[in-house]
Symmetry: C2
Subunit: 474 residues, 2 copies
């Protein structure tokens, strides 16, 4: 078989990159796309030419997540060395379970884990790369359970006491998913109200713990968030650490988004208290632009992951040196190498380069926030803790409901046009717009463009509404 | 920053491929490798030249899993279209949670799931791509639990009855890991003895179910294996289906390795009964050579995954059309696109091409087995059910223990030399050698080479042992 045409197309894409000036997305409903494109598999294969044109259509119908104005998710603009590292990972196709089959990759993962954990705890802890933040968070629950009642590993949760897990109403939904999946039940999740910017309200936490204790439920786990999905704010990690300690709870910090800010000397102060965490989730595919997936789960104490996950599998793990068989501390068996792309980017940029990336992102977010603050048509939720700018369009003529409608309409219109895309979310009854900055090379002018585009869209929509009223009156 | 040198190196690798004639692996202990190679991250970054030489060292110190004689794991030789598809996945960097951000990828995943499930059940079921077989198996446990007692989702396992999970002693270790992780406890795992080739002994299963019932444990889940890790044999899927039904158990088939044989008309008969399974795990990165990770979890009934995993996450899932937001049936939130590489390879080869790949692998395994059978120095475990050939060196002069030592020594010596690598495993007190065939282009001559290499190594080791005796006598 001849693969030259497809190979050359892929090489060409690597050479030129996905076109920066292309639309971010083309607005199509699933049914339209199904109509246009043949998804089905046939008996006979396709020719190289047909494959090549399909690849063009796939690119055209994908979201250009590498675009500066892709601000919809908590990741985006890729780190180029990370991209080459990920391609190398594909070419080498190594599985991360044993040292035997992944010698240098095992040592690279171990180095990354040591370095990341040292960044949190000053001394190197333990950890493993995972298939994402949700599964990292799940592993936190597992270690919390093991720490409290180790016999559950053997006997299961039947007859075990009821546990309670405390987190803010802004914490990630994966904790609820985990609690259900791991047999704690959704009842074990105790959501604590957040304050006006989305941080957990600590007095409410203290009260909630008391209530749960009175119900004879054991406080198992406290979750602190370093960068919420909504506004990117940080919980008061130090205050939470103290409360966790007082109540003998496992303390897990979800730094999936915010973690990378630890690379910055000037941002480190926001993490005060994280060094008291028992475990931390930290994704590098978000703020650092490493290609998806690059997620870590880190623990302060060594050996806990092995205790939790090691099993006997004679056909695979022969060696006594389980310290080098990373499959023994992972939830997975076969596992793609996710550390290499991070390690190469880190090696290339050095610590200073990583710091620089974070400082640039924060500087842009602050400047964006300033522009919003000084514009009377907008209301800024808060000074950004991390590179997410959360705000809403305000208008003295609008009540809350109308305000919500117009904010959502503006976002949906822009999303449909596909040149600038960002997301929205509801918070305490109000709809906010939410721009995640992922490209450290974004310029002052780009930010001005986003703001004026929002205003133009607002005016356009208002005119449309008025026009429809006039036509109704006629 | 200038990335040209690294980019060109990667492009060159894609053009030439990883050298087929290179050693499969270089024998180095962790400490040697740590001594030779600088893993640490420094304050300042590295130059392009330094990066380039590091990449060379990484390749040189990785296992060449693409080599025909890499027979150590249950994957290997990559499908080239799969490789290009995986690179495209990296370049497009899309996350699989919402249709909004992954329009065409969502439809591609849905098509693959429909096609895979149709291959099992004739009508299209439901499913999702997962980060590997272990997590697919975990999802099977989750659905089994939900089917039996749905209120556990809310209330948790405390106060729930004790469950029992039945599997053969040759089933994958991930079920034990899952039972522990999900709060069932390792006590819930009931291992059924396997027969002389590694299939579950069904009379023992029937007895075990009775015993568990007498202990007031609820039979929850029966696991059938389509391709064990040891010998690649299939459980009697149809007989197990009946037993599962009689006892109102969820029936999960672990076809992680063997599943792809469903593509072959001539091999389908081995799966009789799989159409009665409630759920199936099936990895495409194994026999099909799709780059790591390409794993699926499939269910017969639609909607169960959504019931199990959907949660409310306002900042992410806006649409009512959850059928197109695949994050709602996944354990993960952010998720790499693993379906694209499979879909492209499938589209390219057509159904016939996929069938052809499997038939070639089986043909080679049979021919390999014939050669072993007709050689008096070897004992074949059994006619291979799938492309794994399991055998041992025998010698009338050796007792069992000596036989074990010599089999392991031969494997370790070859492994150390790094030109042909395969694994070993213990089964009923005997050490067997285990060659996994992953390259459909392997030739008759290659197989002869493997067999004579094993014999040479045996002779070499015998001479060494004798020489050491002689030198002792002198």
């Amino acid at each position: 078989m001849n693969y030259e045409l497809i190979k050359n197309k892929i090489i060409n894409l690597i050479n030129l990159g996905i076109d920066k000036n292309e639309m971010i997305r083309v607005d199509k409903k699933p049914q339209e796309l199904i109509h246009e494109f043949d998804f089905t598999i046939s008996k006979e294969g396709k020719t190289e030419e047909e494959m090549s044109s399909m690849i063009d259509q796939i690119i055209h119908n994908s979201v250009n997540t590498n675009h500066t104005f892709f601000m919809n998710q908590m990741y985006g603009k890729q780190h180029l060395i990370g991209v080459y590292g990920d391609i190398l990972t594909t070419l080498l196709n190594t599985s991360m379970y044993t040292y035997e089959v992944a010698p240098i990759m095992t040592l690279i993962e171990k180095e990354c884990i040591a370095k990341l954990s040292k960044t949190i705890w000053k001394t190197s802890g333990d950890g493993v790369f995972t298939p994402g933040g949700s599964i990292s968070n799940m592993m936190g629950l597992m270690l919390a359970r093991n720490a409290k009642l180790a016999h559950i590993k053997k006997e299961g949760l039947t007859n075990a006491p009821k546990f309670s897990i405390f987190l803010s109403d802004q914490a990630h939904y994966s904790f609820l998913k985990s609690a259900i999946f791991m047999g704690f039940g959704s009842d074990s999740i105790v959501k604590i109200a957040s304050n006006e910017i989305g941080q957990m309200d600590t007095p409410s936490l203290v009260k909630a713990i008391e209530i749960e204790k009175q119900k004879n439920r054991i406080p198992l786990l406290l979750i602190g968030v370093a960068g919420t999905t909504f506004s990117g704010v940080f919980d008061e990690l130090d205050a939470l650490a103290m409360i966790a300690k007082e109540n003998q709870m496992w303390y897990h910090v979800d730094a999936v988004y915010g973690g990378s800010m630890l690379f910055s000397t000037q941002e480190k102060y926001k993490f005060k208290g994280i060094e008291k965490a028992d475990s931390v989730s930290w994704n590098l595919h978000k703020m650092m632009g490493i290609p998806l997936i690059c997620a870590s789960f880190l623990t302060k104490e060594k050996g806990l992951l092995n205790d939790a996950f090691a099993v006997d599998a004679d056909y695979l793990f022969h060696d006594t040196e389980d310290d080098y068989n990373l499959g023994q501390k992972s939830l997975q068996c076969g596992r793609r190498v996710d550390a290499l792309k991070l390690w190469l980017a880190w090696k290339h940029d050095g610590e200073l380069g990583f710091e620089n990336r974070i400082d640039k992102l924060i500087k842009i977010a602050n400047s964006f926030a300033e522009k919003i603050k000084s514009n009377q048509n907008f209301e800024l939720l808060c000074q950004p803790d991390s590179p997410i700018v959360t705000f809403r369009i305000i208008d003295t003529d609008m009540d809350n409901l109308e305000g919500n409608i117009i904010n959502k309409m503006v976002r949906d219109q822009l999303f449909k046009e596909g040149e600038i895309i960002f997301n929205y979310a509801e918070f305490k009854g109000k709809i906010y717009l939410r721009c995640v900055i992922s490209d450290p090379e974004i310029q002052e002018n780009d930010i001005n463009k986003i703001i004026s585009k929002i205003q133009e869209t607002l005016n356009f929509l208002k005119e449309q509404v008025e026009a429809s009223f006039i036509s109704l009156n006629v």
